[in-house]
Symmetry: C2
Subunit: 138 residues, 2 copies
DNA sequence: ATGGTATATTCAAGGTACTTGAGTAGATAC
DNA sequence: GTATCTACTCAAGTACCTTGAATATACCAT
């Protein structure tokens, strides 16, 4: 069944990233926080609402995530100069590390998998997964 | 990145199964309940402890899941004839439908994906995912 | 300009799916 | 037969989400 086949590697990836963060002294960063660092505008900052939409959660939930990241020194809240209702969420120096670290961790895992499966097969697997997603496109 | 590629189809599969259950009048069945129906012994019943180990949750959590399934008429609790401490959890007639329905739903989704991606490519994809898992084997 | 509506955020309460700790009943070992 | 181990349950707490309601600000039509 395709279920197991997709779920197991995905779970392994999540575990790998979580362990990598912990090892790098970022044990406070958990999966629900990552969409922030994937989408946020690192120069201007981004609105809670936009982050929430991208992460597929309610603005209330994202507001709480941002609270947490702010308490832990990963982001700061600024007033939006052009809209008094909005706050802009912008990563701090510490927050800027997260995106890069996540990238390094995932690339490291991909390299390991590629070595174990064979580079050619791994490239093919990624290509087929991409094609599947394009074809199914949910 | 392999992350998206694994996560998206997996999430689509989970949604598909959930919708299928709801459409068949089993809207009370959610993802955490499925491991019960995958592993339980349909004739003798299984112990909470064994179900918990298979599902990778604590016995307490599994106990609550079983409560829920019992309240909704999917399983019944029996005394274990050979161990007075244990209870055996056994699906009712209604519970027996769940395993079959889950299988039909996943096969239906696989057929759709296979049609969209092409049967040859889809078989190859499944084979590569299997090989990856054998090679990485977490 | 002002009144009505829409938007951005936060506060509050609640639900689900887990966790660990503690307690009880029954099984097992010496 | 006492001590220990096991199966389960009860209780309390946490993480991560939800919807509903309140507040401040923006926008828009008259």
């Amino acid at each position: 069944m395709i279920g197991e086949l997709l779920r197991n590697p995905n779970a392994a990836r999540v575990r790998h990233v979580e362990r990598g963060f912990a090892a790098a002294g970022h044990g406070a960063i958990h999966p629900p926080h990552l969409p922030v660092f994937e989408y946020v505008d690192y120069e201007r900052g981004s609105r809670i609402t936009d982050l929430a939409r991208h992460a597929n959660v309610s603005p209330q939930a994202m507001s709480e995530v941002v609270d947490y990241l702010e308490r832990h020194g990963y982001v700061e809240r600024l007033r939006d100069p052009v809209d008094g209702r909005a706050r802009l969420v912008r990563p701090t120096a510490r927050g800027r590390e997260i995106y890069a670290l996540a990238g390094r961790l995932v690339r490291g895992l991909e390299d390991e998998w590629s070595a174990r499966l064979g580079a050619r097969k791994f490239r093919l697997l990624k290509r087929l997964l991409g094609e599947l997603w394009d074809a199914v496109g949910d």
